[in-house]
């Protein structure tokens, strides 16, 4: 409440978007908000590219035989789709855009702890992305984003550029995580104790720990694959004395925790959105905060659930299976607490809240199918089928993408100072949720039927569900285009939002919109927890009921 940077001087001073000006001031900026905006442009471009390939894949799967491309092109397309969506969108999206932009604001800080390193990560992203995408298109990489050996080390297509690209992207990811951890430890404003940190910050903290601890293993693994591929050393290829399963262990030791790098930030966003739009403090703040750390911790010990059919020992499969259940428990804790937060709230069903409801729905079903997959014997049937594809798209697109859209709509007025069309945004949110269901529910059923993933052609009996899925994907694609259109319109001609259109008690809203270059004129002193609404919303409600 004493957080009041509302002096005239702050409002009259130029905001971060307009001062300083010039392309150079953007390319060399050390401001976390500008870096967040640059990440937004980059990840949206990556998402558009990955989405384009997804639609081509769905088009090809419209008929059982060849439809619009040959098998080799199809294999390259799903590799492009997977690598771009995972490494260029899902992993950097929320931390890169909203983490960078809002973490310092939520801590009452001027910037992240290492602004120059922060800028470096943007360039690492740019370099890594360019090398990876160029390498895949130029060399026709056809391994899938999982790069399983010995297929990847014996295929005739080029692999090293995409490995190098992913390696560089991984470095950026590590540095972002490191930066956030140091920022959270050292730059909290007076009064923001650990138990007063916004839940967004808690979940970003958990994410950062995974990024710092797990990503180096991916880097090493990719390097080993590149060494085997380039110099012929026998590491993973049994024909050269290597061990093909070793790759899967190393790869999933990173890539399973990486799933939580993608989904914890989504949970971070959702905790903020539900509190603001239900105008209610989080029911079970500590449970939600610590369950993020719980997921980050247990997430390191479940990678073997990707190997139930690989010949892994029966005992190991049991251990990995039972530990996977605990990820489900921590997720259930969050789901229950978010739901209970609605109790006795003052709910405003705006677009971000619709995405919250979508998120809740997708996370529940994505999570429960994850539990079903961990029951080991059921996984034997589902492993490497469309059931698994549907499961992780429910989590990755269903949950994480919904959260990304929730964040975008929730913080858009803060980032750019303008409102978007509520009517169009509600329409688009319904299209996205509907299209998403139509795309992926048929894929669960295809998995039940036994259709393996990465299938260029398929037996006749799988066609009707594939047609349904492709139809859903086109609705989904249309929904995303709609979002892009009205947000661009809002950027240029939207109604001015004012500092706090939602009346949120999140710390980041006690700044002008868009925020001033220095965030706060002087270091704020915090005297309350975030999102406490016993005294009503923040006074500066300029929009909504």
């Amino acid at each position: 409440m004493s957080l009041s940077p509302t002096s005239d001087a702050v409002y009259n001073s130029p905001n971060y978007l307009t001062a300083p000006t010039g392309i150079r001031s953007w390319l060399l900026t050390l401001d976390h908000k500008r870096i967040g905006v640059m990440y937004l442009a980059l990840v949206v471009a990556a998402f558009a590219l990955g989405g384009f390939f997804a639609l081509l894949l769905r088009l090809e799967l419209l008929t059982p035989g060849p439809t619009v491309m040959d098998a080799m092109t199809y294999n390259r397309m799903f590799t492009l789709h997977g690598v771009i969506m995972i490494f260029l969108f899902m992993i950097p999206a929320i931390p890169g855009v909203f983490g960078n932009f809002f973490l310092p604001l939520m801590l009452g800080a001027q910037d992240v702890a290492f602004p120059k390193i922060n800028l470096l990560t943007v360039y690492l992203y740019l370099i890594g992305a360019t090398i990876a995408v160029w390498g895949m298109i130029q060399g026709g990489t056809d391994t899938g984003w999982t790069f399983y050996t010995p297929y990847s080390t014996t295929t005739v297509t080029t692999l090293s550029p995409v490995l190098l690209g992913a390696f560089i992207l991984g470095m950026g990811s590590i540095l972002t995580g490191l930066n956030f951890i140091v920022t959270i430890h050292t730059l909290r404003a007076p009064g923001i104790s650990w138990m007063r940190m916004p839940l967004f910050v808690w979940a970003m903290y958990a994410t950062s720990i995974i990024q710092v601890l797990a990503t180096p293993v991916l880097g090493m693994t990719l390097l080993l694959v590149a060494i085997e591929k380039t110099f012929g050393f026998g590491i993973f290829d049994p024909a050269r004395g290597g061990d093909p399963i070793l790759f899967q262990h190393l790869f999933w030791f990173y890539s399973h925790p990486a799933v939580y790098i993608m989904v914890l930030p989504a949970m971070a966003v959702i905790s903020e959105v539900v509190q603001t739009f239900a105008r209610k403090n989080m029911y079970g703040y500590k449970a939600v905060a610590f369950s993020s750390l719980g997921i980050a911790f247990v997430g390191f010990f479940v990678w073997g659930h990707h190997l139930f059919t690989s010949g892994q020992s029966t005992f190991a499969s049991g251990v990995f299976g039972v530990l996977s259940m605990f990820v489900g428990i921590f997720t259930a804790v969050k789901v229950f607490n978010w739901t209970a937060t609605l109790y006795k709230g003052a709910i405003q069903v705006s677009t971000p809240f619709v995405y919250f409801l979508g998120f809740l729905y997708f996370l529940i079903f994505g999570g429960l199918t994850g539990i079903a997959l961990s029951t080991v014997s059921l996984d034997v049937h589902w492993q490497d089928t469309y059931f698994v594809v549907a499961h992780f798209h429910f989590i990755m697109v269903g949950a994480t993408m919904m959260a990304f859209l929730a964040a975008l709509h929730y913080w858009w007025p803060k980032m750019f100072g303008r409102m978007y069309s509520e009517r169009w945004s509600l329409a688009a949110s319904l299209l996205v949720i509907l299209g998403f269901n139509a795309t992926f529910i048929p894929q669960f059923l295809l998995g039940n039927m036994g259709m393996p993933r990465r299938y260029y052609s398929y037996p006749q009996q799988f066609q009707s569900l594939n047609v349904a899925s492709t139809a859903g994907a086109s609705v989904l694609g249309f929904g995303f285009v709609l979002v892009l259109v009205y947000l661009v319109a809002s950027f240029f001609s939207g109604r001015v939002a004012g500092p706090n259109p939602w009346g949120s008690r999140g710390y980041e809203w006690d700044t002008p919109s868009p925020p001033n270059l220095l965030n706060f004129p002087e270091t704020p002193v915090i005297t309350r927890g975030p999102h406490e609404y016993q005294d009503g919303p923040s006074a500066e409600v300029t929009h909504g009921h």
């Binding site: 105008r279 059919t309 739901t339 539990i371």
Partner: protein
């Protein structure tokens, strides 16, 4: 009960159930699915009721500060935990069954190869893409791959097992009569989706007759000294005979005896399925996986009392050749009436005819 089973199977688009194992897995599936649906519907309904009930009425509306009692959090954690662990206990016990082939199972060697499946019966014929097995008898598959990782998948049996290059994995089933599609579930390149096969489960008597017929043909071919396949391995005679020949030509028998006497390496007599004490103190069972590993990575598991002097046969022995040697080792048993392995009722010695 059968109607309910069939109804749920159709609702969930599951293929026919080709074995008791498939039925039990589906029953767990139905249990998990129905409780999950119920749980999800309850949670989402509660959320929906709250959304409708607690709509914002005033712009400046305040809300009470509510914190959960520890008992509430404990219940919210405990409920799902008990449920999840119950599912896991059932699913894991089914998995243990799947991982433990019965002793009397008939063996079939499966080799994945871009992009086809090859099946070899000890003492019987080889075949491509069509796997014939008897109904109602346990069949153990010993899988390997010639090139990259493949995964042998029969949706109707709810069965999947990766086939890895350079080593053996195993799985087993006891199927109902019928014809079921086989897919490759692990991405293996251009022909991945065309790597199809068919599992033909024949009534046991029909299968025996078919097997008998093929043994005779094989025998005739062997006598004519005419290779019947153009693969890089010599498929004349049974897998066991091939194993004996390969063991001799590769020099295995220079160090390993077949009569129980101690030599540079451990004897092969009674080696299969015995407990072996290793130099590092562990004790393991000498199954196919161990035998193959010992050919490919001989120094990984050295038998107590021996020196690690054996060279690797990685790249020197193909998958089928390693399988043949393993089959030969399996046949060397003091309790066997002859040097041929017991293969249950399927086995009819060809040479006697």
């Amino acid at each position: 009960m059968n109607e309910l089973n069939d109804l749920l199977r159709r609702i969930l688009f599951l293929p026919v159930q080709g074995s008791d194992f498939a039925r039990s897995v589906d029953h767990l599936h139905f249990f998990v699915w129905s409780v999950s649906m119920l749980g999800a519907a309850t949670t989402l309904s509660v959320a929906l009721v709250f959304v409708l009930r607690y709509q914002r009425k005033k712009t400046l509306q305040a809300t009470p500060h509510i914190e959960p009692k520890p008992i509430h959090e404990a219940l919210l954690i405990g409920g799902p935990l008990v449920l999840f662990l119950t599912w896991f206990a059932i699913g894991y016990s089914q998995y243990v069954v799947l991982q433990t082939p019965p002793k009397e199972a008939m063996d079939v060697y499966v080799q994945g190869k871009k992009w086809m499946w090859k099946f070899a019966y000890p003492g019987g014929p080889n075949s491509t893409d069509v796997l014939r097995v008897p109904a109602g008898r346990p069949v153990r598959l010993l899988l390997t791959s010639r090139d990259v990782i493949h995964s042998f998948y029969v949706p109707a049996l709810r069965l999947k097992q990766d086939a890895l290059p350079g080593r053996y994995t195993q799985t087993w089933f006891n199927a109902d009569p019928g014809r079921y599609p086989i897919f490759c579930a692990e991405y293996c390149g251009l022909g991945h989706s065309a790597m199809l096969g068919e599992l033909v489960v024949m009534p046991a008597a029909e299968f025996d007759a078919w097997m008998d017929e093929h043994r005779r043909t094989n025998q005739a071919a062997a006598q004519d000294q005419r290779p019947i396949a153009a693969e890089d391995i010599d498929v004349r005679g049974s897998l066991l005979e091939q194993g004996r020949r390969i063991a001799a030509t590769q020099g295995c028998l220079k160090c390993h005896s077949v009569d129980g006497s101690r030599h540079i390496g451990p004897t092969w007599l009674d080696l299969y399925a015995s407990k072996v004490k290793l130099e590092d103190g562990r004790t393991i069972v000498a199954d196919e996986a161990y035998l193959t590993r010992s050919m490919m990575e001989p120094n990984a598991e050295i038998v107590a009392g021996y020196k690690g002097v054996m060279p690797t046969f990685q790249g020197k022995l193909s998958g089928p050749e390693a399988a043949a040697i393993a089959e030969f080792i399996k046949s060397l048993r003091t309790d066997a009436p002859s040097a041929e392995p017991q293969k249950g009722p399927v086995y009819v010695p060809v040479t006697d005819k």
